[in-house]
């Protein structure tokens, strides 16, 4: 009995922490209809600033909190001013991609500054526990509860009684009307980003103290948890976000009590998917509402794709095919093999995100499904590797589509959240389903690629094989785009309401896009498994999803040739310039940001 009380207290405390993140997300969503994917990064920054303050500057606790809040708020203001304000009049996909890029850049900067290794963040509070009823409670619990309540109170006073707070409320009720009444939207945005960042930063610091550990993986987790809480409470609903957070904290805490710690996140993401499916407007949404007209054609940047003549493509393909016959180094071949594998993933993502408009952030999960399927088929059932790879593609197509299907009724940013969560679920299932996936140990001794009984071991043969597979997938995708399906996918992307009014079923066509795209990604993962010979639940991670997204945007959303060109460019250029490995991801993030800002249509244009 007493332990249940402990779990309840723990759930409420953790919920309080989530609330600090979720309230900021809700404020931002309220005024700009934007899910701020960088919220978790600010939380991470807050935790590390707290570490600097406590461990290096030895600030007393109240000062630490103030330092963190102010520093995080400044980061928030910078993001608003330089990351998002220039995109105010861009297409709807632009701010979404920008917050993803900003989050990536911030995380990498923290990682480069402080190294990825975990650090201890001491709480500066006496380590005692008080008996309360049947459970215990510590000073840190009280601090967190106190910070939560104080922030809620201050926020309430601000929104209720200050002029700027009134403007924030007006803007979130009806942005256009508020603007007509003279509300300065830039000031409102500044206010919400500053407040959201201060709350997020303090939250990160408190969590660091609570677990006495901080590391760079916190960022993504915090974004996800905050978004789960916010969506559960109803996007843009500030009190709803608080209740959603407490609920999430309790669900996790009881889940951990019953099933064990490694299931904590699984519960959070399952809660998200269940809420998205059953009550996409949150638990407390008032009435069902149709989105207002017009939402037309503004999701992706309109542009005329660059038409590359067929002969030029044929010459380029022949050039790459003949390349191994020339005296090129093993290193060049290896780099290009990586580019072809990434190219397959990018083909998949450019179809789903570009042609279909479903910006998936969990695409690496499709790689993982393909890789595990192919590895296990060849290892345990002795299926020939060539067939196993195809099996991986088919499994990824089927399972991936099934898993993603709850998100089919969602729009824009929600799709990204759902796919991110589904990607995490896949990786957690791989980690926990030991009887099949061998859990954290991973799968080793995966047989090398082979075709018709011949092992493909030499770099040249692997090069040819992966290049040929990518070209075949690209040709198929080109054919798909030229059919009525390509037209239907793009119509749904441009305006799903008009598409439905003309008889296009969203479920049917989104499924078909994910089936086709899932196959390509699964094949890529399958081939990778046989090349690496060892995989585990971390081999295919969010970094690859973001890398693929950057490739897709670089090439031009939906653009088949662009996806391959982007893959060669992003894999090849860092090699040419010999960029150190740890800076590459940072560069990808910056490239993504620059593209969104200055060339949203990519190199070859959106299709």
């Amino acid at each position: 009995m007493s332990s249940w009380l402990d779990y309840t207290i723990n759930g409420l405390i953790v919920g309080n922490v989530y609330a600090l993140v979720a309230v900021g997300l809700a404020l931002i969503f309220g005024v700009s209809r934007l899910i701020n994917f960088a919220q978790g990064s600010i939380y991470l920054v807050g935790a590390y600033i707290g570490w600097v303050a406590v461990v290096q500057l030895h600030t007393p606790l109240p000062l630490t909190i103030i330092v963190v809040a102010v520093a995080a708020a400044i980061v928030g203001l910078i993001i608003e001013r330089f990351g998002l304000r220039p995109l105010q009049n861009s297409v709807r996909i632009a701010p979404l991609l920008a917050t993803i890029g900003i989050s990536f850049v911030l995380d990498q900067l923290v990682m480069l500054t402080f190294s990825p290794n975990p650090r201890a963040l001491p709480s500066q509070l006496p380590d005692v526990r008080f008996q309360v009823g049947g459970g215990t409670i510590g000073p840190l619990d009280l601090l967190i509860a106190g910070v939560g309540l104080t922030s809620a109170f201050l926020l309430f006073v601000f929104l209720r009684y200050s002029k700027l707070g009134w403007a924030v409320r007006a803007a979130s009720q009806d942005r256009d009307a508020a603007m007509q009444m003279g509300v300065d939207v830039n000031r409102v945005n500044q206010a919400v980003f500053g407040i959201a960042a201060a709350l997020g930063g303090v939250s990160g610091m408190l969590v660091g103290m609570y677990y006495n550990q901080i590391d760079t993986a916190m960022s993504l987790q915090a974004t996800l948890k905050g978004v789960v809480a916010e969506v559960v409470g109803g996007a843009g609903n500030v009190p709803g976000a608080v209740i959603g957070s407490l609920l999430l904290g309790l669900v996790e805490s009881y889940g951990v009590a019953v099933f064990g710690t490694s299931y904590r996140n699984l519960f959070a993401f399952l809660l998200l998917v269940v809420v998205l499916v059953l009550r996409p407007n949150g638990l407390f949404a008032s009435a069902r509402q149709a989105p207002p007209e017009p939402l037309t054609g503004t999701f992706i940047a309109p542009s005329r794709p660059v038409r590359i003549p067929h002969w030029a493509l044929a010459v380029a393909a022949a050039g790459f095919a003949l390349l191994p016959l020339f005296p090129v180094s093993f290193y060049v071949l290896q780099t290009l093999i990586n580019a072809w594998l990434l190219g397959m993933l990018a083909l998949s993502l450019t179809l789903v995100a570009g042609t279909m408009g479903q910006v998936s952030l969990g695409h690496a999960a499709l790689l993982a499904i393909g890789a595990y399927t192919s590895a296990l088929l060849s290892l345990t059932l002795n299926v020939p590797v060539g067939l196993a790879v195809i099996g991986g593609g088919l499994m990824s197509a089927a399972l991936g589509t099934l898993l993603i299907s709850p998100s089919f009724r969602l729009r824009g940013h929600y799709v990204s959240i759902a796919t991110l969560a589904i990607g995490e679920i896949v990786s957690l299932v791989i980690l926990n389903w030991e009887s099949v996936t061998r859990g954290p140990i991973g799968i080793s001794g995966i047989p090398p690629l082979s075709l018709f009984g011949y092992d493909l071991i030499s770099p040249t043969s692997i090069y040819w094989f992966s290049f040929a597979v990518m070209v075949v997938l690209a040709l198929l995708q080109g054919r798909l785009l030229g059919s009525h399906l390509g037209r239907s996918f793009r119509a749904i992307r441009d305006d799903d309401i008009a598409a439905r009014a003309y008889g296009l079923s969203l479920n049917r066509y989104k499924s078909l896009a994910f089936i086709f795209g899932g196959f390509a990604a699964g094949v890529s993962g399958g081939i990778a498994a046989h090349l690496y010979s060892y995989i585990n639940h971390e081999t295919f991670n969010t970094q690859q999803s973001i890398l693929a997204l950057t490739v897709v945007i670089l090439g031009g959303l939906g653009n088949v040739v662009g996806a391959m060109l982007g893959a060669v460019a992003l894999v090849g250029l860092p090699e040419v310039f010999r960029v150190a490995a740890e800076y590459r991801i940072l560069i990808y993030g910056i490239v993504l940001l620059l593209l969104v800002r200055f060339r949203p249509q990519g190199l070859l244009g959106t299709m």
Binding site: S286, A287, R288, Q289, A290, E293, P294, T296, G297, T298, I300, P302, R304, L476, R479, L480, S483, H484, L485, R487, S488, R490, A491, R493, D494, D495, I497, A498, A499, R500, A501, Y502, G503, L504, S505, R508, S511, L512, I515, F516, T606, M607
Partner: protein, 275 residues
């Protein structure tokens, strides 16, 4: 052929469509007029399945279609245009109008349960002769439809819709609706934002469609056009139907004049609701 009974839709405290009854016979053209915010577009959304009524029923060709999905209704022969224009911005004019013909695809979209979608994917990739022939036939049809707009759209057939002028985008929407071969066509302010020449062209086109026997429900602010085209006019205000009848009769109805002139003046709306 279309009949609405007690159709009602509320948004929070606001009743956007309030117990509307309406009957439309085959081949008839009925116009709905009324001040902005009267609930006309919401009524269209209800009839086309994009929104669900809180009360009331919709029957189309004798069948109860209340609450059916827009996809089903499109397949059943109901096509519409949108007030603010909803073309597919990145699709060419040709592709926009081809989407209108989507419900008529047969060869590439066999009506097989369960594996139908997979067959569709396979057929789209393999493209056997039947599929190619169907696509070619539809493209011919689209060219014929576009030809109805004279030289407005045909020369721009391969341009993306976002690059078209406003008036041309409205035309693309109508062409897309015609490609569905609708049995009921709903036009939501087809001439909004058009100059007098363009309006006259549009009026001639709608008259032609009517002469061909198409059943049309028209929302329009330009009263002159309404008076010329309509068999009957329905006037809405604050969600209610306040008058119905032939154009000349509605035009002189005192409630209608009040709704148009006195809208927002204190007292008048109370009197209206009481009446």
């Amino acid at each position: 052929m279309l009949s609405l009974r007690g159709l009602t839709r509320r948004f929070g405290g606001l009743t956007a469509v309030d117990a509307i009854d309406l009957d439309l016979a085959k081949g008839e053209l009925v116009s709905i007029i009324g001040p902005n915010g009267a609930g006309k577009t919401t009524l269209f959304n209800l009839v086309t399945g994009l929104d669900r009524p809180d009360a009331g029923t919709i029957h189309f060709e004798g069948q109860d279609i209340t609450g059916l999905s827009p996809e089903r209704l499109a397949a059943g022969g109901i096509a519409r245009t949108f007030q603010l224009g909803r073309v597919f911005g990145n699709l060419s004019v040709m592709d926009n109008v081809l989407i209108g013909a989507h419900t008529r695809l047969r060869a590439v979209k066999p009506a097989v349960p369960v594996i139908g979608p997979l067959l569709e994917l396979g057929l789209a990739l393999l493209r056997p002769a039947s599929v190619k022939a169907e696509e070619e036939r539809l493209r011919e049809e689209v060219r014929a439809i576009l030809a109805r707009f004279g030289e407005r759209l045909l020369p721009r057939i391969d341009q993306p819709a976002y690059s078209l002028s406003y008036a041309n985008r409205r035309r693309v929407e109508i062409a897309r609706a015609l490609a569905l071969k609708p049995r009921l066509l709903l036009l939501d302010e087809p001439t909004a934002g058009m100059n007098p020449t363009e309006t006259a062209e549009m009026q001639a086109l709608v008259a032609e469609l009517k002469a061909e026997g198409l059943t049309i429900l028209l929302i329009e602010h330009k009263l002159e056009m309404v008076m010329r085209l309509s068999d009957r006019v329905i006037v809405m205000d604050e969600g209610r139907k306040i008058a119905e009848g032939p154009g000349e009769q509605v035009r002189v109805d005192s409630k209608v004049i009040e709704a148009y002139l006195g809208h927002g003046l204190s007292g008048t709306s109370e009197q209206d609701s009481a009446a």
